[in-house]
Amino acid sequence: MHTRRSFHTAIISGLGSVIGVALGVPTALYLLVTRGSKSKGNFVEAANLTQLQIGKPQEVTFERTRVDGWRTFQEKVLAWVVRTDDQNVVAYAPQCTHLGCAYHWEAPRNQFVCPCHESRFSIDGKVLGGPAARPLDRYPVRVENSKLLIGSEIRKA
């Protein structure tokens, strides 16, 4: 009688676990695993190099195609762009690396300043003070025929 009982409980827990795994694994995949975007680079023209002054941060807005779930649309994107010399440009993502507020350039202090928690960054993106833990995030950039192309994948420093 005792072995029959344990046989029955073994069936319940055994088959129950198989069902649990067979449903749990696809659920975890469905919720947690996202497919990598196919177009990795997606560079778009953002500005003409001649419009940028060397050593002076400028807000540059440009349009690009964004795929958001089932929707694909044109969206406006903003970058803080610093032309460092003749051929080189740095493009910072416009959000503070602390908690994502929009920061701005304060010319008199020669710093990027975030209005939320007063994180401060130098013109080359380094943290000068405040709670931000890492330098400003960057967009990948390319310069072709004196045109500035900005990619979509934000790179964390």
Binding site: I12, I19, Y30, T65, V67
Partner: protein, 531 residues
Amino acid sequence: MFRRTLAWLEDRTGVESAVKHFLYEDIPASSGWHQVFGSVALFAFLVQVATGILLALNYAPTPPEAYDSLRYIMTQVTAGRFMRALHHWGASLMIIVVVVHMIQAFLWGTYKKPREATWIAGVALLLLTLAYGLSGYLLPWDNRAYWGTVVTTQISALAPGAGPLLVRLLGSDGTSIGAITFTRFYVAHVQILPPLTALLIAIHLFLVRRHGVAPAPSDELQPKKKFYPQQVAKDTIAIFAWFVVLMGMALLARVPLGHLADPTDLSYIPRPEWYFLFLFQFLKWFEGPLEVVGAVILPTLAIVALLLVPFIDRGKMKLVRQRMGAISLVVLAAIFWGGLTARAVATTPETREMDMSLVQPWQEISAGNLASIGLFRKAQCGSCHELGKPGAAPDLTIAPSARPMDWLEEHIKSSPKAPGALTDPQVQMLVTFVTKRSDKAVDAWQNAPQTAVDGALIYQANDCTSCHKLNGIGDELGPPLNGVGERRERSWIEGHFADPPKYSPDSIMPAFHFKPDELKLITDYITAIPK
């Protein structure tokens, strides 16, 4: 530690003794395999709840985005196609098990005093299950969903007296359906039906416990058994068997997604889900003013009869094999249902509708773009310009080429791999492509099968574009070619190339005499372009 936590929980909540009380319920000695179906039905419901919530997390419940988001689930979300298949087949398999559960209760006569209310709650649960099927049918918002639901709302309009009110309640204007009907069906499916179902399941289970599992006539003299573990093990095995069937269907049987709902598509012939096919066929017997009898009156009477079963059959409990009346009724009902369903299936016309969840980007770009991809491959550009990774030359998928046109033309003409492989117009086509390609074209560039690309090259070489529109590009002297494979038989298309007037007398299309392999490529290509 665990023991102490458990003891604390038991003391404060009594949860342990409640579970024990539930599991160690007395059940009759005759209990066994014939009583597993209720547990399977409950499990089926839980699977529908779980997969339904998961689908809802990626679903936009408004037309037409409902369609786009479902296509997104099926093509972009990991395991999304599988989840939809689980929910789709789970619904069918749930209806089967609920009906089997009811047939068992009917054959054994377990609805008799004092279990009448249990039976009525069960019939209500069956109706709720069918209501899920009806409301969920609209949610993909493809042609099948749209036209099927148009018929449903029109049937409800036939109800004597209540018809116009029902139609208004369903958000229809009486002829067509739109965003409002959709939202009402969605809300019914996810907000009204689930709590009702949960409540009725609770009542149903409470009543089963209150009156105990129905005993067979010979049970009185036998000692009672416990629900756990023997009967629970049998239930678990039955649940597992049901689950294996569900997994098999979800993995092997494809659930298609048709074209976006189109009220102007007059070619679509709607058919209901298989479990409603018998009603669909039944309706054909009733003509003109009798329509309402088949559509509303008889189905309503059938439901009323089902509810009244315990009050009609009030005799003493008998063994199943002595219940000849009940057995013959079930057999008759099965013949009626099976015959009508078989007739409906036999008269269902074959459909060539494409499964839009399988459509790839190369099927959605212009023939010119796809042919340009063919030129890129023909001139072996990819041996230096590796697509999708940095190689010896720039990866052209990252950004449209910013080089001047004349530079590019010269570059292609003097390509070291295959100099002079392309004619001047072909070079210009390729230059336009690399400077102006869309995101979809980039995907096709990397993934389009060579047979499709070859088909597009033949399409381009024969200048089909100058008369036919395909994926938005081309003139309209001839009919647009999108969906031609859904409108026409393959043999028609192949024959038409060689002798157009034979197939469409007024055609001004010149004859095209393709070699057999070319004919196959071009036919494969144009029939792969969705409507």
